[in-house]
């Protein structure tokens, strides 16, 4: 009943590998969007924006959540299930907080006059790009929530750390992706 045989154990677990390919795919999507941004920013009628300050708070939150999820993986491996559950719960809260802060940031931006209608500019891209990123974070929050539920109500004891590791890798990825986007917006924008 083993998914991984002796020969395969030297290799990466298929689910982890699938995640890495998926990350490559997501990277291509954001590469497409950010390169569109670069192309457009050199054209006429481009409007600049001022970054909402809330984004700094959300950045701090998502960085912190990366720490908690990493600690959760370690706790799981050390069979500290109580601490694991607590940390996964923390990460879910921080992830949700991140999305809420992004939403507040969007609203600040919207109220300062950066809206969809009219000529193109950094704002329109920011809503789309950061919005899609937030969707990916929400996906991660749902995955963590499922693991949280399993840790509490799961029927069979699960000692495989693969699902936890897959979730945490994805979580670090959306974190790094946000840092990249933030640096991109500040540097290019």
């Amino acid at each position: 009943m083993d998914i991984v045989s002796t020969q395969q154990q030297k290799k990466i677990h298929p689910h982890k590998f699938t995640l890495w390919v998926a990350i490559g795919s997501i990277v291509m999507m954001f590469a497409g969007l950010t390169s569109a941004y670069i192309v457009k920013s050199s054209q006429a009628a481009w409007r600049e924006i001022k970054m909402p300050t809330t984004f700094w708070y959300s950045t701090a939150v998502i960085l912190l959540s990366s720490l908690t999820v990493q600690w959760a993986v370690r706790s799981f491996k050390e069979r500290e299930m109580k601490r694991y559950r607590l940390l996964i719960g923390f990460t879910v809260v921080l992830g949700s907080l991140f999305v809420i802060l992004q939403w507040i940031g969007f609203n600040q931006l919207w109220d300062s006059g950066v809206q969809f209608k009219g000529s193109s500019g950094a704002g329109q891209f920011l809503y789309v790009i950061a919005g899609l990123h937030a969707l990916h974070v929400i996906g991660g929050v749902i995955a963590l929530l499922v693991m949280f539920m399993k840790a509490f109500f799961g029927k069979n004891k699960n000692y495989s750390s693969i699902p936890v590791e897959v979730a945490s890798t994805y979580w670090h990825f959306v974190d790094i992706l946000w840092i990249y986007l933030l640096v991109f917006f500040i540097w290019i924008g």
């Binding site: 298929p14 699938t18 497409g32 969007l33 569109a36 329109q124 069979n156 495989s160």
Partner: protein, 606 residues
């Protein structure tokens, strides 16, 4: 080496059992109708679902082309049948010009995405990957099932757009803005375009889920001894196809999302300085070329997503049926790889005359023409594989040879179009239509037919009727050339594509009879495809039964499974692989399966 834990949704536990102590118990779960035929997680059933959905789409997309061909061939005549099919879109038996655009748009979308991407990759990647690499199922059967159901949802949305009041999308299958982005621009730019975009977003999700699975299955789940270079070429082709899809579809998704914003929320990603019916739109600073870049960054790899699986299957089928090893295995893999890389570097050759900087164009010409090199290597290797072979002319072999013929004919015209200067004359003419139909459309269909005839015994444990198969092949190949060859001449003479009625140009009247001939032939060819569909469904239930495990005497692993393989494919252990897949006619033996250990006195090691 089993992934049963996965199959049965059990907890995964990493154990250290050596492979050969892994006793495989064939679990016979009580499968209900729903888990067996509808929400199935078995790769073989998912493959059949993709194939049959693809066939339904192919009939619809093909029928559209026959119906608008009627009007193209006989522009002065009215056909009551058109009114029967299309109602007020063909009032009085003549297709309304706006609806003609909708028809060509849907014909392209359906055949490119729903038939030749999902129908082809979805079918054969799912069927062949676990079979040929020796795995019990995909890396994630659940994602695999989701992949089909996202495709199904996309199909429902696209299908529903055919029946709405303002008609389906009509901006061409490429959906270029501003036509597709401005609602007032045309009827098809109203709800039809939104449904098109939503359907494509679902389709992209389906492709990505599928592609992720194909890649990680091929790289991680191969049986013992199945090194990458021992894999059949079908596996290599499907692997590169999946890589192309996973890296290029997300870019189309971002393009589509921006288009949805422009359409519905008033943003200006693609729109600038637009006046519709005297009304000035507020959009400013957008760039329509940006969409073309995002679209063709997918769009060109998409061509190879369609073509590579056909290439892989043709390589396998030609080798099996010539009873000879494939010629230049590593060259075949290398050229697949080269095509995969170049596919990402040539997208702008679709934009030579749309406002691309001519200086940039020069680089894209060079890169485009470079694709001729790996393509020529592949053609050479197919021909040398056939050369002096002991060829069995099964319908599958014929279709595979037909693929090579069409690939040569269509590929050569690509060299014309790849030159930006010649493209000034040829762009948007029937020459382009002829080129891509032959090299991408018909050729890939031939690869697909070859695959269906060859693996039908594995899919349904029965054979397709051979006589109908031969009729199918000969009418289709002759018909394809009769339909598309004359279009080259039309294009060289300057006949534009996407025109419903060309009678206003006196100079084009010389082609009127040619157009009639093309229409008549396309009706015949379509009828023969329906005959194939009949053969397909009839043979599923009434075809000649498969009595031997390995009817084609092939080396690959799928023929070591039981005739009707259960979920898990092999009863007992998965066989170990000792050699490559192409030991045909070696040391006086007709064929040596991959599972047979290398003998002491064998001439050359693989």
């Amino acid at each position: 080496m089993s992934n049963e834990a996965n199959l049965h949704g059990h907890t995964e536990v990493v154990t250290t059992h050596p492979v050969h102590h892994d006793e495989h118990h064939v679990h016979h779960h009580k499968e209900t109708f729903v888990t067996k035929y509808i929400f199935s997680q078995d790769h073989k059933m998912i493959a059949r679902q993709f194939l049959i959905t693809g066939i339904i789409w192919a009939i619809i997309g093909g029928l559209f082309s026959v119906l608008f061909r009627l009007q193209l061939g006989y522009p002065e005549q009215s056909f009551p049948i058109l009114e029967t099919f299309f109602g007020r879109w063909a009032a009085g038996g003549k297709i309304v010009p706006e609806f003609y655009y909708a028809l060509v748009t849907m014909h392209g979308t359906i055949l490119v995405f729903f038939v030749l991407t999902a129908g082809l990759s979805g079918t054969f990647a799912n069927l062949l990957i676990p079979f040929q690499i020796g795995a019990r199922d995909m890396a994630s059967p659940f994602l695999n099932m989701l992949s089909y159901w996202f495709f199904f949802l996309a199909s429902i949305v696209m299908m529903s757009s055919l029946f709405i009041e303002t008609g389906p999308a009509a901006g061409g299958w490429t959906m270029y803005p501003p036509l597709s982005a401005v609602r007032q621009a045309s009827l098809g730019s109203k709800l039809g375009s939104d449904l098109w975009l939503v359907s494509m977003a679902l389709f992209i999700v389906s492709s990505l889920l599928g592609g992720l699975n194909y890649i990680s299955t091929i790289l991680n789940m191969r049986t013992k001894g199945m090194s990458m270079t021992r894999m059949p070429l079908t596996m290599w082709a499907i692997f590169f196809t999946a890589v192309l899809g996973v890296l290029s579809f997300p870019v189309l998704l971002s393009g589509a999302i921006l288009l949805l914003f422009d359409r519905n929320l008033g943003t200006s990603f693609y729109l600038s300085d637009i006046v519709v019916n005297g009304e000035i739109l507020s959009n400013e600073g957008g760039s329509a070329i940006l969409y073309q870049h995002l679209f063709w960054f997918l769009g060109h790899p998409e061509v190879y997503i369609i073509l590579l699986p056909a290439m892989g299957m043709v390589s396998e089928i030609l080798s099996v049926n010539s009873r000879k090893p494939i010629f230049g295995y590593m060259a075949m893999v290398g050229s697949l790889f080269a095509i995969c890389i170049l596919a990402f570097l040539v997208w702008a050759h679709h934009m030579f005359v749309t406002g691309l900087n001519p200086f940039l164009g020069a680089f894209f010409v060079l890169l485009t023409l470079l694709i001729a090199v790996p393509s020529a290597i592949k053609v050479f290797n197919w021909l040398t594989t056939l050369w002096r072979g002991n060829i069995r002319f099964t319908p599958a072999t014929l279709f595979a040879i037909g693929f090579v013929s069409l690939f040569i004919s269509g590929g050569l015209t690509g060299i014309f179009l790849g030159n930006s200067t010649i493209d000034i004359h040829l762009h948007d003419t029937m020459f382009v239509v002829a080129h891509f139909h032959i090299v991408m459309g018909v050729a890939s269909f031939f690869g697909m037919f070859a695959g269906v005839y060859h693996w039908f015994p594995k899919m349904f444990a029965r054979y397709l009727n051979n006589t109908l198969g031969y009729i199918h092949f000969w009418v289709t190949i002759i018909g394809s050339y009769l339909i598309f060859w004359p279009m080259h001449y039309q294009g060289l003479a300057g006949i534009p594509r996407r025109y419903l009625d060309k009678r206003a140009w006196a100079s084009f009247n010389q082609f009127a009879d040619l157009d009639k001939m093309i229409t008549v032939v396309s009706i015949i060819v379509f009828a023969v495809q329906l005959m194939f569909v009949f053969n397909f469904f009839y043979s599923i239930f009434k075809g000649r039964k498969v009595r031997t495990q390995n009817p084609w005497k092939a080396n690959t692993l799928e023929w070591t499974t039981p005739i009707v393989a259960g979920h898990g494919n092999w009863e007992g252990e998965i066989p170990e692989v000792h050699r490559w897949a192409y030991d045909y006619g070696k040391d006086g033996r007709d064929f040596i399966p991959q599972t047979e250990p290398i003998g002491e006195n064998e001439s050359k090691d693989h």
